[in-house]
């Protein structure tokens, strides 16, 4: 295991740069990232914004698709209009055929491994049977040019290359047609499918979720050219923007939810439904467009006919839809202060198996997300935002998301949900609708840098969840929860390609989200962060950003050098552990005998008197000097701490010796000294070390002996010359009692036992738990009853803690 990990690490290690520190052991935590980041160019400039020659391709789709419910197939015909806005001439085009992942010989199937060679699970058996039975993958019936002539094409796994009859020059576009069909995947058998159907045996109906359902263009970018990487399932997608015009033919009694706006409501919706939609536009709460009763009736029938739903979507990077006769449908209009998109229709589609949870929370959660996210970025730029319940647990597409939570059927026929499921639904809707901003509009490359959408989205989700309700336990962005992961050995830097990520969830979601929370609350502060973040979203709205663009924009717009932060949090696996090792108090030595001698006398006098002398005095014993005053002389009358003129002269000599005759003010040292004597401040030398490697600001809470406190925030730059250890000197009038580093747990410090000076005993979670829960070993009690019992007089003692034996 360790060996394998070492090999993995070797491959992932950042290449040795041209600059190498080969003498001494200095690590430059504040080195600028310029060497690591790609060179700014005419497409993406040094500011982190699209440069004058920025380009991106466009792919428009005109699609006719039919769902065959009984056979579980999809048959489609599309015309793709591909615009080459790049400066390159293209001789071939690449398309992605993601359904080919389900083909017998797909790389995904072939590279799946089994845990134990001596036993197999039922699931593994089912998978094997599934591969045998399932006729997966796209069946491409035709690839033709605009004139109907066949185009040469080659299929390699989940990719298809079309060879163009004539090279496609910059600025030109080409249209071509593809006919295809494929078998839908049963969500029961293919456990990691993002699309397909779920069959409900009780009523004999299905929910169809359609994603990755059409052959589509592979992205072609300025930094990678064709992003043609085989789809093995984990890394998601890199796609182009374009316009879609889609006609979806489904059974006549199906309700369809789709990316885009419905163009022919008159053909597919009843008058009542259209009325209700109109009403929903201005409603203050969700209105049923298809009520639960209507959905129940719909479930029970079967219409042999079919209907076509016509949707159009502008400037989207993908297109997904769902269809079922089981859907309950609700909607509520959302108005925003935006000239381009003043109105968004928030809608939810769900079967009765999601009730009563969905009707209560889904659409409200959609609107909540739009409200919060838009504040940190831009007004939602699409006319609809939808949350659809189906077999996919949580997945996002432009204007439509698929979310999983269901409720429990009780024996009495009612349906209930747990608190956890409710929180999960709200959270997943926020998260998936949130993806409507990242990456659906701020179109980062999910395949290469999962964190750019998942990390940013998880961060905003955290903010939105906190704003949902008082007791929403959203602590996922809180720095303290990431420390266990960050101190662990088995991890790779966040800037690692998604397909190879160990600890995928922590690295792509939690760690970057936490880093952003810290950046916002602790490093930049909200004002600077929000301004810079909003600027990033404005720059890259409907465009394709890379990590360098994000890093550069945040720095440039906030005005704060953040290279050390990106380097530490994104490029390394260091963790934060700042320790306050020692604090020493100083007073300035004044050299002035009139000041020092009395002090020394005072110190001596404050020491306890000798035991022997005390006892003698108590006995009434006198000293010889007391009985014979003639023995008393000058030395008795003047103790060793008496100041003589010689001492004073020596002081003047000292002041003379520190004169600086060549400086502008030769007396500057004595002035400083005399001032220090007068102010009589306490000097504190604080020694800090950073064993974790990840440098952070030093946040100090100083408590004085009078119990007053002071917060001192030292910027991270204090570590720039010696990242392992620094000494900081401060001067204070009052006397300090304690100093605590990061008192509010803001910096994801993994070890708080070294954060206190003087050292405090910090119990572990388990010790705290035992302390608080000693009563948990008592049998369950009926407190409501117990509390009514009269207190016996004379028995007011608190019961003793009982050491309970181990279970």
């Amino acid at each position: 295991m360790k060996y394998l990990f070492a090999i993995l690490l070797a491959f992932l290690a950042l290449p040795a740069g041209a600059v190498e520190q080969t003498k001494g052991s200095f690590t430059d935590k504040f080195r600028q990232l310029d060497e690591e980041l790609p060179t700014p160019n005419m497409f993406r400039n040094a500011a982190g914004e699209p440069a004058p020659s920025y380009w991106q391709q466009q792919a428009d789709y005109d699609i006719d698709v039919r769902l065959d419910e009984n056979n579980r197939t999809i048959t489609g015909s599309e015309t793709i209009r591909y615009s080459n806005n790049s400066p390159d001439t293209l001789r071939y085009l690449w398309l992605q055929l993601d359904q080919n992942k389900f083909h017998h010989n797909s790389m995904d199937w072939l590279t799946r491994t089994v845990e134990d060679p001596k036993r197999i699970t039922y699931n593994e058996l089912r998978n094997l049977q599934f591969i045998d039975d399932f006729d997966g993958g796209f069946k491409i019936a035709a690839v033709e040019d605009a004139g109907g002539r066949s185009l040469p094409h080659t299929i390699i796994g989940t990719l298809m290359r079309i060879d163009l009859p004539r090279p496609l020059a910059p600025g030109k576009n080409i249209s071509f047609k593809i006919d295809w069909s494929y078998q839908l995947v049963d969500s029961e058998s293919a456990r990691s499918s993002r699309d397909g159907f779920e069959y409900f045996p009780q009523d004999g109906n299905d929910i169809f979720l359609m994603a990755q359902w059409y052959p589509r263009m592979v992205a072609y970018s300025d930094y990678e050219a064709w992003h043609n990487k085989e789809f093995i399932g984990r890394g998601e997608f890199t796609l182009e923007f374009g316009d879609f015009d889609v006609r979806i033919t489904v059974p006549a009694d199906h309700v369809v939810s789709s990316t885009g706006e419905l163009k022919n409501p008159g053909d597919v919706l009843s008058n009542v439904q259209q009325q209700r939609l109109k009403q929903a536009r201005n409603s203050e709460h969700p209105i049923f467009i298809v009520t639960p009763d209507e959905a129940l009736q719909n479930e029970a029938q079967r219409d042999d006919g079919s209907r076509s739903w016509h949707f159009a979507a502008r400037n989207v990077r993908d297109f997904a839809w769902a269809s079922s006769r089981k859907f309950i449908w609700d909607a509520q209009g959302y108005r925003q202060d935006d000239a381009d998109t003043p109105f968004v229709m928030a809608m939810s589609f769900y079967p009765k198996e999601g009730e009563p949870l969905w009707s209560k929370y889904s659409t409200q959660a959609v609107i909540h997300t739009l409200e919060v996210y838009s504040r940190y970025s831009f007004a939602f730029p699409y006319p609809v935002a939808q949350s659809v319940n189906g077999p996919a647990g949580g997945m996002e597409y432009p204007m439509i998301t698929f979310n999983g939570p269901r409720t429990e059927l009780q024996e009495d026929g009612s349906r209930t949900y747990s608190r956890s499921e409710k929180l999960f639904l709200i959270g997943v809707v926020i998260h998936e609708i949130g993806h409507g901003y990242f990456p659906m509009v701020v179109n980062s490359d999910e395949r290469q840098w999962t964190w750019m959408d998942e990390g940013l989205n998880t961060f905003l989700q955290y903010l939105a969840q906190i704003e949902w309700g008082e007791d929403y336990p959203s602590k996922r962005g809180e720095p303290r929860w990431i420390v266990d992961f960050m101190k662990s050995e088995k991890q790779v830097p966040v800037m690692t390609n998604s397909e190879s990520l160990l600890q995928f969830g922590n690295n792509a979601y939690a760690k970057p989200a936490t880093a952003l929370v810290i950046l916002r609350e602790t490093i930049l502060g909200r004002e600077l962060f929000d301004f810079a973040f909003k600027e990033y979203t404005r720059r890259w709205k409907f465009r394709r950003p890379t990590p360098a663009d994000f890093f550069r924009t945040m720095e440039e717009a906030s005005g704060v050098d953040l290279d050390w932060f990106w380097r530490g949090w994104f490029y390394t696996t260091d963790h934060v552990d700042i320790s306050i090792d020692r604090v020493t108090r100083f007073k300035v030595a004044s050299h002035d005998p009139d000041v020092e001698f009395p002090k020394q006398r005072e110190t001596l006098e404050s020491e306890p008197l000798s035991r022997t002398k005390n006892s003698n005095a108590a006995e009434g014993r006198t000293t010889r000097e007391e009985r014979f005053p003639e023995l008393v002389d000058f030395y008795n009358e003047n103790d060793p701490f008496t100041v003589s003129n010689k001492d004073r002269n020596e002081f003047q000599e000292y002041l003379e010796s520190i004169r600086a005759p060549r400086d502008t003010d030769p007396e500057w040292r004595s002035k400083a000294l005399l001032r220090a004597i007068e102010e009589d401040k306490n000097f504190y030398m604080m020694e800090f070390s950073s064993p974790g490697g990840l440098v952070m600001p030093i946040l100090l809470q100083i408590t004085y002996i009078d119990d007053s406190t002071e917060m001192l925030r030292i910027p991270a730059e204090i570590w720039r010359f010696s990242p392992g250890q620094v000494n900081k000197l401060i001067a204070r009038d009052r006397e300090i009692a304690t100093i605590v580093v990061d008192p509010f747990w803001e910096t994801a410090d993994v070890d708080v036992t070294n954060n206190h000076y003087p050292r405090q005993f910090i119990p572990s979670r388990l010790e705290i738990y035992k302390d608080e829960n000693w009563t948990s070993k008592l049998p369950n009690r009926d407190l409501m009853q117990d509390i009514k019992t009269e207190l016996d007089s004379g028995k007011e003692d608190i019961p003793l803690r009982v050491e309970t034996p181990d279970q």
Partner: protein, 180 residues
Amino acid sequence: MGCPAVRICQIVLIMTILMAVPASSHQLQAAISSVTFVPRNNTIEVIHRFYSHDAEHALSLLTGHHVDILQDKEAQQAFGRYVSEHFQLSGQDGTELPLSLVGVELEGDFIWVYQETPIPGQLSELSISDSALLDVTPGQVNTVNVECGGELDTLVFSEKLRTARVEIDFDACVTTPAIR
């Protein structure tokens, strides 16, 4: 249970219950545990942290009926017992260290399970088996940080790996206070 290469062996089918994978959402399915030597108390503290939503789903599947883990203390205890049944520590000679279940609590999005065992007389190697949720939640990854003597070692358990070992510098472990 060896299976000679030539003969056809009977494959024992293992019952596992799997639930639907949330493809994108929050990427839960990750638990983190710590095994920490605390010389002060002469104990090894084991602290597990699971997402409470994962725990609830898993428990519902395992028991066959719906569970409300945030509200139901019994369910929390049941989960604690489940975890302790799927987590073992053994010494270099294979003897299991007797872990007692101290308790279960909720905080944030998480459910915490606490166990402890006395530090044994001698230990040169610690073998850990961790299969909690591995047969219930596809894609589940359990990270375990073993801390003692100022050293930290991490083991990662998944469907593909359920047992692993770390070397222990016993003298350092029983003298140096552990990092919390």
